[in-house]
């Protein structure tokens, strides 16, 4: 059953609507049941969640008799952004994920943000699916603010991701969708996977397997599900090494994503096409595994090229 969560009239003959699909067990209406919410599209250039929503609904509908709770799917929290290939909210130049919890008496963007929070509030768990950005590819991972780790790590382990990254609290992140919901006691897991503007079916299917498994543990789904993979959990900021471009140029990788690297292995080159020269060889500074790698070739001074999880962190 498709519902409009929030809507607002645009200047010329158009209504902006944020929609969700509520899937209920056969023959039942809304009521007091366990509820999971799947949210994506807060960043208009992140599309991996589109396929996750499609595939999850498809699998549930195929065996509707196994559904025991409520599944709310919100595939497009920022419809104008998705339509115009814009990360933020077009016309406002604002990152929607810096507007929460919003304000129902505020401007259009704050009004929509408050409508989303009000609708998702009350869920037993929420999954907010992101897809990095157009610059970086991420291995399927869950990012958790250390403030909420006790509650979230056990849930995250059920989601069949490869990596759980617990990061420090940061004032700026207080205005994210996930932070607002976690503060309202709605356990909300932020998934980052794949790359902006693309769909990586393999990762999407991996996450759908995980969502169904989590639903099974919550008794929302009575079907058989996979045994989730054991994620690496990193809680120490020193576990992660950042690789930033030492110079501007064109980055060409020499390794694959999620590859185990030894110190001084070549990760890639920064090249200069005008002179046909290699400007820099990017070497691994530590033994580790590459969980983020640059996808978009053009780099400036300092552009992020990758993130490595140190080998010691993985063994613990």
């Amino acid at each position: 059953m498709v519902k409009t969560v929030a809507s607002v009239g645009l200047p010329v003959d158009e209504v902006l609507e944020i929609k969700k699909n509520r899937i209920l067990p056969e023959g039942e209406s809304d009521g007091k049941k366990k509820r999971i919410s799947i949210v994506t599209g807060i960043h208009g250039d992140e599309l991996e969640g589109q396929y996750v929503c499609f595939e999850l609904i498809r699998r549930i509908e195929e065996h509707k008799e196994l559904l025991k709770g409520i599944v709310d799917v919100y595939p497009a929290m920022n419809p104008l952004g998705i339509d115009s290939i814009t990360r933020g909210i077009p016309a406002f130049d604002l990152d929607m994920n810096r507007l929460f919890p919003g304000n129902k008496d505020g401007d259009m963007t704050e009004f929509l943000a408050s409508g989303m929070i009000a609708d998702v509030d009350g869920s037993d768990v929420c999954i907010d699916i992101h897809a990095s950005n157009i610059f970086l590819t991420e291995i399927p991972q869950i990012r958790i603010n250390e403030l909420h780790k006790e509650k979230l790590i056990p849930l995250a382990k059920e989601l069949n991701v490869d990596f759980i990254w617990v990061h420090g609290a940061n004032t700026v992140l207080e205005s994210t969708f996930a932070h607002s919901l976690n503060s309202r006691n709605v356990p909300t897991l932020v998934v980052e996977m794949g790359v902006g503007m693309r769909i990586t079916k393999e990762y999407c299917n991996q996450l759908v397997d995980g969502i169904l498994h989590l639903m099974e543990t919550m008794e929302i789904w009575a079907g058989e599900t996979i045994e989730p993979r054991k994620p690496i959990i990193s809680e120490d900021a020193d576990d992660v090494t950042y690789l930033n471009a030492p110079t501007a140029g064109v980055f060409v990788p020499r390794v694959k994503h999620w590859e185990h690297l030894k110190k001084s292995d070549e990760i890639g080159w920064i090249i200069d096409p005008l002179h046909g020269k290699i400007l820099e060889k990017i070497l691994s500074p530590v033994d580790g595994i590459l969980f983020t790698i640059r996808e978009y070739p053009i780099v400036d001074h300092g552009s992020l090229i990758g993130r490595l999880l140190r080998e010691e962190a993985r063994k613990e």
Binding site: G9, A248, D300, G302
Partner: protein, 310 residues
Amino acid sequence: MEKKIIYEISSLYRDNFRVTGFEFGEGEKSVCIVGNLRGNEVQQIYTCSQLVQKFKVLEKEGKIRKGHKVLIIPSMNPYSMNSKERFWPTDKTDINRMFPGYDLGETTQRIAAGIFEVIKDYKYGMQFASFYMPGKFMPHVRMMQTGFENVEMAKEFGMPYVVLRKIRPYDTTTLNYNWQIWETNAFSIYTTSTTEIDKESAKEAIRGILRFLAKQQIIEYTTHEGYKSSVVTDSEMISVRTKSAGIFDSKVKAGEEIAKGQILAQIIDPLEGEVKENLISPVDGIVFFGHNDPLTYANTAVFKIISGGI
């Protein structure tokens, strides 16, 4: 005067990214004044460039007092301005959300760190700032309520208003906030416009800054006393919001006195031309901010009003 490169990085195909500063006088780091941080802040770079002109004259006439150094940086972001991007051309990040910066981080973090290293020890910091919504302001001095703000000092600009604003989470990464944390007396100066040049309000801001610096005994400069600034908090201002979206036909300008019940603007149906909505002033007062885009969304605060007469 000494023209200095404050920060520079190379690019693959563009000329180097350069931030240029103009240093006047010698001695302790007294005053730092910065112009555009974003690519659309044309009024801000213009105003700063005019201030460079003023300081050239002051220096020539020996009117910068001994022991004071003044640094003016008209543009902290030539790249975005040259490519008509509001934010950093490649990754669309906002330098004014990167302070105090990180010299080993990403590009705009490095730029913020490189610039902040140079400007953080000044006693007074002034930034020509802009608002994220399209519209025009009454010229004013704006401060965040960090606990370090000095309201009495802000009145010495003699601008009509000093506006105080509560801190929101994203403010902690702005230049103004970090200046204050590093114990610089930081002021954001708002003139009327952003994307177009408004010479009158640029002049008013320059007079305000010179008046302020004269009061601090940094320069010799005489002008009229200016206004006796009213101090207003952002929350005391009355927002007039649209109920509907459409063509926005404003009937008043920033700075205009208005009466309770007066029509401030009309929203016109863009297909049929009918008036969909009259926006009425709820109080007697003065228009502090007015939206100036020909279209508006619903729920938009198109006017901010300070109630009472002037």
